[in-house]
């Protein structure tokens, strides 16, 4: 930790948040807000003179609220950076006339009440996301009495109580009477492996953490009797089984069964746990002085914000989705972004460090190469066709298109390095002036034609975006989920690429049913391109209805890369819908659309003649 504060290549921006990220692999522009500490970070020597003078006392978050801190504080004695800060929500002296006592106390004059948040703009070639996780808060469940009984604590609170740097200076006591608890019960899987409370997955670390805690207790207080209530103990890592054995040999009792109920003896404040020991099939009541809930790990509360910032997706468990679960577990689906630690899945310190080093190595590859190749799938504009409407500039999620100006005859230009290739502009341009390299109109139309040339009535034409719905289809495959054979997928980078005319064309060629699928709004790999897809589909539904074609024949679905199940389900449902579309209906549609095309052509010819 100290090293990080000292390394000459490393700029530490603590108390800072990433506010905005633009750009792409090799060239990310990042806006960071460095929050005002009101204490000059470089000058502060952490002498603590200021602390005594501060009249405000609030619960200390770092000590899990077991002790208090002042409004001017440092998180922990070994903090890096080693500087105090003022918590303005609690400080009285925002207006120095009111208080300002610390300012007087500080000899070095580090305190500055006028300090402002600082905005820092940086450019980087790669980003490593190591934003961590949250610890499950058991307040939402009542069976273990966490809300009602003081002597029921979480494993995080336990850490502070047993720590020499903790609020009790390492004298392990229980909250009600400040006496050493002699009988301690650990309850495993709190907030994990449950469809009722918390999360369905195994949090990976809590079994080992409890085993460690029991050993710590044995070390410090040999008389303490620990019991561990568990579903099954998962001690799968290197050296883990050894620790487990040591814990067992030291006399810790392991009882297979999770307490159904915990209640307090109001006199002694001791806790009673009723548990079915599933190895013998008997319900027993255990008395305990302290209960420790071994809480699980969950995705950060602000995960969605982070995802939005970096256009990342999450897997079903809410952690960040990797590029490939086996072959690219460290890479984000967005090039140039990598994961380290618990943002990706719950893991212990060793695994976090391992992944972090892997992420650093992956990022180094790009940085060392000094250049990256950008896939040739960007938009190009044919100004001969452009009529200056400017819709392309408006819809581009990356602001990669400069707005045209009819008066001065300036055409829009597409900044190649900024274009991500979603194709929204190409789909929205009524003049067809924009071409997507490698996803050109005729290339996609050729696929539609090939699919519908024979046995059109049997086929569902489905458009799927590369990142989410196509990947969801792949996941259905990897998971061997079975569904009817009638669907034919056409892959585009983004659902934003799916032009109205592709869909109309498919109906014209006799498609009974068309599906347009893309990412959930929050997952869209092209920021907001998917919102244009939604608009387009709504427009198409209206158009179809106007023409006398059932809007139901165009289906819309948002399927994430983690939703293989949903993909298969949608395919099954669509097949049922397809069966109900009659030959007659499809023929009628084909006629209607042929007529409509004639009409449009005639109108164009007339306009051309007039103009």
């Amino acid at each position: 930790m100290m090293d990080a504060g000292r390394h000459q290549n490393l700029t530490l921006l603590a108390y800072s948040e990433v506010e905005h990220v633009t750009g792409y692999i090799g060239n990310f522009n990042v806006k960071i807000r460095k929050k005002a500490r009101y204490v000059n970070e470089d000058e502060c020597t952490a002498c603590a003179d200021c602390v005594e003078s501060c009249p405000v006392s609030v619960p200390d978050e770092y000590q899990q609220g077991f002790s208090s801190r002042k409004a001017i504080y440092i998180q922990l004695p070994q903090a890096v950076p080693s500087a105090y800060l003022i918590d303005m929500d609690n400080c009285l002296g925002n207006n120095p006339i009111a208080c300002g006592k610390c300012k007087d106390a500080c000899e070095k004059e580090c305190i500055d009440f006028d300090m402002q948040d600082e905005i820092i703009d940086i450019e980087v070639g790669a980003i490593i996301v190591a934003a961590g996780m949250d610890v499950y808060d058991p307040s939402e469940m009542d069976e273990f009495g966490y809300r009602s009984y003081e002597n029921v604590i979480t494993s995080m609170e336990f850490e502070r109580l047993i720590c020499a740097g903790g609020p009790t200076e390492g004298h392990f006591v229980r909250p009600t009477d400040y006496k050493l608890p002699k009988r301690i019960s650990f309850i495993q899987c709190v907030g994990s492996r449950s469809s009722k409370n918390g999360n369905k997955y195994c949090s990976n670390i809590c079994c080992m953490n409890t085993i460690k805690d029991t050993l710590l207790l044995k070390d410090h207080y040999p008389d303490v009797q620990s019991k561990v209530f568990y579903i099954d103990i998962r001690a799968f890592g290197k050296g883990f089984e050894d620790l487990f054995m040591r814990s067992k040999e030291s006399g810790v009792q392991y009882i297979r069964g999770i307490p159904g109920d915990v209640w307090e003896d109001p006199k002694t404040k001791n806790l009673l746990l009723s548990v079915e020991d599933t190895t013998i099939g008997k319900v027993q009541v255990h008395e305990s002085d302290l209960v420790v809930l071994s809480v699980g790990v969950e995705p950060r509360k602000d995960m969605k914000k982070l995802q939005h910032l970096l256009t990342l997706s999450n897997s079903v468990d809410g952690f960040l989705l990797e590029s490939h679960p086996k072959l690219k577990p460290v890479d984000a689906p967005t090039r140039g972004i990598f994961y380290a630690g618990c943002v990706e899945s719950p893991k212990d310190i060793k695994d976090s460090v391992t992944q972090a080093s892997a992420a650093a190595a992956r990022a180094s590859i790009i940085l060392n190469a000094g250049k990256v190749e950008i896939e040739a799938i960007t938009a190009i504009i044919d100004t001969d066709k452009c009529n200056y409407c400017g819709v392309c500039a408006r819809v581009c999620p990356y602001n990669a298109i400069t707005a045209p100006d009819r008066k001065s005859g300036v055409y829009p230009t597409i900044i190649q390095a900024a274009c991500a290739g979603c194709g929204t502009c190409a789909s929205e341009c009524v003049q067809d002036a924009i071409t997507m390299r490698h996803f050109k109109d005729d290339q996609i139309i050729a696929q539609v034609d090939a699919i519908l040339e024979e046995n059109n009535m049997d086929k569902i034409v489905a458009f799927a975006c590369n990142w989410c719905s196509y990947a969801g289809g792949d996941l259905a495959g990897t998971s061997r989920l079975q569904y009817p054979t009638n669907v034919r997928l056409i892959r585009t980078m983004c659902s934003g690429r799916v032009d109205e005319k592709f869909i109309i064309h498919a109906f014209k060629k006799g498609a009974p049913l068309v599906l347009l699928s893309g990412c959930h709004f929050a997952d869209c790999h092209y920021i907001s391109a998917v919102t244009w897809t939604q608009r387009r589909v709504e427009r198409l539904w209206n158009k179809l209805e106007r023409l006398g074609i059932r809007p139901e024949r165009l289906q819309l679905e948002w399927i994430s890369a983690a939703e293989g199940q949903k993909f298969a389900k949608v395919m099954r449902e669509l097949e049922e819908m397809r069966k109900k579309v009659t030959d007659k209906e499809v023929k009628e549609t084909m006629e209607i659309l042929a007529k409509d095309e004639e009409k449009a052509k005639a109108k164009k010819a007339k306009q051309a003649a007039a103009g």
Binding site: A522, T531, Q534, W541, P551, Q555, V570, E573
Partner: protein
Amino acid sequence: MAEKAKFKCLRCGHEYEDKYTPKVPQERTCPKCLSNSVRRIEEKRKA
């Protein structure tokens, strides 16, 4: 700004009311069948 509007699921046919903000596209899910093929139906068409 949020108004109420009627929606129809084009998968299962379910009709329901929901919040709606004009011009702001939103991800919609049919409460009955969970499909996203949800279409807003205008009741009084402005002719």
